[in-house]
Symmetry: C2
Subunit: 629 residues, 2 copies
């Protein structure tokens, strides 16, 4: 198989991913965001990596002056690598020479810092620094390298054989990891999973059996308690239970998802059905019991972790942007392995309601955590200052722990790779955006499609056949929420499209148009009663978007804590409206009493907004879950 | 005024506290717990301080071998001081020679570690340790000394002029603090408030103007941002807004309450009405918007902090034991300053539902955090091991941060000092327990009372006059929850007793009996709707006790997440019963849908238990807030 521009290239599985060389998003919701990403976010990140000193750390390493002047946390190197990965995808997408120059100058600085034996980390191993590999729990050395490997993979898959040297840097580091961590060496794992996905994909790019073996070893060792216990328990880094035995994701939500993604890679390559079954089981329970309606994961601020089943308080939602991206990585790998639109459903939900929520409209500020209920309209002390990681009142330009901006950037740049797949018999479209799809089936037949849609503003998706040979099958995802969806294939009546994958097998003609109509009326959803924190509340969804009530949209009301909603939401003038009852504040000296305080009420219609649009109009209060009158 | 055995001895105020020399608890709910405290908890603490190395740290300091072998966190010294304070009160209460020996040998070890200039801390100032006062944000040096001062005050007030040397140690340390931190010196504060209450009381015991001045300076400097900013903001240590200007307690809940208590001391001594008004205002809003139904405070695990107004999730309640004790310290000082049974109401609620919840029945295990909803019956890995601080599944014998056991011990030992007060005209009884009260009014008249009650098992309180001279006023607190209370004074009809303080002025005769009947039927309480996390739920209270539903009390049910309650709770056979509907688990692949899942239901009566009794019968699930069917 030729090299494809995909983040994940399993050697087997139900579906083959289509890469950036095969799918192009041409506009619409995600096209606009990709434009913002390339024009604003990537330069913003480069400027921050420079001004925060995280790129200069590499220069200091090359000059031999470290640890003096090193800045940033122990994992700061990884942001440079995620920036490189984002650039690689963006170059693959848009072939922008400015980004090519950015990538090359950044790789040169990274390469100059690599040591003779392949070691690469600016925080460890020099006189005055902790020794290499001395702090596997918190040191993040392998984590950083995992991101380096993903960057090198992205580069090799978009510009094979490029002479920038990134792949060589990655291979030298990976060879060192294999020397140090193989059986008989340091038989442990990194406190933050990531090396697993990185090695698995680097093995796929290079054909190295040793990298694949190390990925397998790191997955197998996880849960055997080789890491020290900590205050939050070894579940924090998933070292409590072997991956093969666990029933649910737990602990730090980013770590858990990154590990699960890497473990799917290993299970697929090894045809390890037991491991794959365990991961499917974990995914199912995590989605059923530990995921916010937005797709967000993680309800503990303290340890950025999953809570217990159904412990999903909206006002204390952590729902870290990076956990959402990790969840997409995990679900995407299961989709490729198994097929099944439930995985694409979660990806869509998470893209629209976590990944799209993080960056501001201008692409220069971000949410690290994504609360579902903002109680206080809190202005940051200094909007330009580097923020604590979980500040949630307004988006911030950068964080002390700034994993999310670079993670958003690499996801936006590679987004086309999550739109469609192929199998021996045809093409499946999983995500809807204006797009051009042009691929070759395994037997050599060329299939090309043009997708036109104003989704998610409208529910009509039009797929036109641009090139076709012989009979093949077109599959279109119908989201689980799309009850009442209909579709039409040429020469047939419009018919119901049941949630899942609807498909048509035929010899298409060029110019054939397949139309899918997804119902875009507002939907009221209720939560399982075990999610105690939202009892008596509804959420409103429209298409793939979760909606929210922001105080900005109610005249004279600062606090959405004082409202209830009555009746059903209605579509009017392109917006979704609810009737809101506003209570007068009834302050009592003690907030618990024999009956709920009697308050005056006014009723007013209020427009809901897509959750991802909130906090774009200044400090506000906001809630996704709306108490019912 | 002669020395009284009280923790707080303001020189002015509406009410004068009666000390351990004037009030003795003779049995009942609190008498039993005091017995457990003296017989089990205090020896347990001594053994732990020894085996954890926190007492031996002082020996190493005296030997000059530190920092080698120092164990425990930077504030470990403070646990030794709280242990000393607890011993001092306990000796005042029970005159136990074993405790006297414990105190003397412990003081000797502490005194041996004090440096020539009065400095005393085992974690700072020696070669190989950070310099003295170099880390005011996290170092806890002044915090530790505040507890040393409180211990010395307790000793001097229970055994005036004792030759153990504790007061001398405290004065030498306090003199050093005055030298180092007065204006022109280090013009800052300690990251953890406590030195303020310690200095204020040491000033009262010694008459030192300089200590009083330092307490005033520390309170005045707080909020002027002399501490470095941190991830959670300066509000964490209340250094965001001057005490005089703040509207509500915020940040770390223990720090906030300790600071507020010390600030009341300063305001009272200085007759600083503006400061006192600010503290009253903060107390009112904190109680109205940031306090759990148990009296617990603090809803953030991450920073052990208050959340926003009405952000009170029961399953993520932090409600630290020490925050409850701090809240009692704050409320008690306001009660003495202003009078007002709202303060005594909160103290009672917090005593029964936070302080009594922390220790196990055997007095050798504790809760650090006090959750209101336990979702998973989680067995600790090793019940005997030192636990992370916020483990909430079962009580633990000790913690890495073990502030709560010693705090409970000193509170239990001094509890009689919170029962009653006097003013020029008579005596006020605020807390009900079998007790003997014997005091002298300011004009020299002796008043003695005997209180008999089975409270809180029963609501009858019988106050017998044992000694009396002339006409005076007896006041009895009627809790705010006690709607329908009645009382009877000799020679009069039984009459309604409205919440607040009911009082009778007369020339009592010896043998006169005043009876108060508090209604002890179960009460249903609802929460302000802005407390989103408990919407659609009720809590049940009985007398001062908040009740809880524990899975142990429902046959075949492990998860109280699956129940709702129907109808009103009823008293039967001395227990409170509710009809519980148990849903079958209706697991869906996605927990959000168009309607709540349909489930089968069974109805069964279940007995509620006092919240403070939970988790005494093995791992269980538990909830205070009960969803209504």
């Amino acid at each position: 198989m030729s090299i494809r521009s995909v983040p994940v290239a399993p050697s087997r599985g139900e579906l083959r991913p289509l890469g950036l060389d095969e799918v192009r998003i041409t506009g619409g919701f995600w096209g606009e965001r990709q434009q913002t990403n390339t024009a604003a976010t990537l330069p913003h990140i480069e400027a921050k990596l420079e001004s925060e000193g995280w790129l200069p750390n590499f220069d200091r390493a090359a000059e031999g002056t470290l640890p003096e002047g090193r800045r940033g946390r122990e994992f700061a190197d990884s942001e440079v690598y995620k920036f490189l990965e984002a650039l690689a995808w963006e170059i693959g997408r848009s072939d922008d020479p400015a980004h090519e120059a950015r990538l090359r100058r950044t790789v040169a600085r990274v390469a100059a810092a690599q040591e003779a034996d392949g070691y690469l980390n600016t925080a460890f191993g020099r006189p005055g620094q902790p020794p290499r590999w001395s702090d596997l729990e918190w040191g993040h050395e392998l984590y950083c390298l995992g991101h380096l490997f993903q960057a090198a993979v992205a580069r090799e898959r978009t510009r094979p054989g490029a002479d920038d040297g990134l792949l060589t840097v990655a291979r030298r580091a990976a060879d060192l990891v294999c020397t140090v961590f193989d059986d008989g060496g340091i038989e442990s794992v990194c406190g933050h999973a990531e090396i697993e996905v990185g090695l698995a994909e680097l093995a796929r790019v290079t054909g190295s059996e040793h990298y694949a073996r190390m990925a397998r070893l790191f997955v197998a060792r996880r849960g055997t308690q080789t890491l020290r216990d900590i205050e939050w328990g070894r579940s924090y880094f998933q070292d409590d239970i072997p991956v093969r035995e666990a029933d649910v994701l737990r602990g730090h939500a980013v770590r858990a998802n990154y590990l699960a993604a890497g473990a799917v890679d290993v299970a697929v390559e090894d045809a390890d059905d037991g491991l794959l079954a365990a991961l499917r089981r974990q995914w199912r329970r995590t989605v059923a019991t530990r995921t916010y309606v937005t797709g967000g994961q993680g309800s503990h601020h303290q340890d950025e972790a999953f809570g217990d089943d159904f412990e999903l308080p909206p006002d204390r939602a952590y729902s870290e942007t990076c956990a959402g991206i990790g969840s997409i990585m995990f679900a995407w790998r299961l989709l490729l392995a198994d097929g099944g639109e439930q995985y694409a459903d979660l990806i869509e939900r998470t893209l629209y309601n976590v990944v799209a929520t993080s960056p501001s409209r201008d692409g220069r500020a971000f949410y690290y955590a994504n609360t579902l209920h903002q109680r206080v309209a809190r202005q940051p002390a200094d909007p330009e200052a580097t923020s604590p990681r979980a500040s949630a009142s307004l988006r911030a330009p950068w964080f002390d722990v700034s994993c999310c901006p670079t993670n958003v950037a690499r996801t936006m740049a590679s987004l086309a790779a999550y739109v469609a797949t192929a199998d021996a018999d045809g093409v499946q479209v999983h995500q809807y955006a204006p797009a051009e799809i042009d691929t070759t089936l395994a037997d050599g037949r060329r299939i090309a499609l043009r997708v036109e849609t104003a989704y998610p503003a409208e529910g009509r998706v039009r797929v036109e056949v641009i090139a076709s040979e012989g009979a093949w099958t077109l599959g279109l995802r119908v989201p689980a929420w799309a009850d009442g969806a209909r579709w039409r294939v040429p020469g047939e009546e419009t018919q119901a499209a049941a949630p899942g994958l609807v498909s048509v097998h035929r010899s298409f003609r060029v110019g054939d148009v397949i139309e899918l109509d997804l119902p875009m009326h507002p939907r009221v959803v209720h939560a399982d009663p075990r999610i105690d924190a939202v009892r008596g509340c509804i959420a409103v969804e429209r298409g793939p978007e979760v909606l929210a009530l922001e105080s900005t949209d109610i005249d004279g009301l600062d606090d959405v804590g004082l409202v209830t909603v009555a009746g059903d939401p209605v579509d009017r003038d392109g917006r979704v409206w609810v009737d809101v009852r506003t209570r007068g504040a009834a302050d009592a000296p003690w907030p618990y009493g024999r009956s709920a305080p009697r308050t005056t009420e006014a009723v007013t219609p209020a427009a809901l907004i897509p959750y991802h649009e909130w906090a774009e109009r200044g400090p506000s209060t906001m809630r996704v879950w709306l108490p019912v009158s």
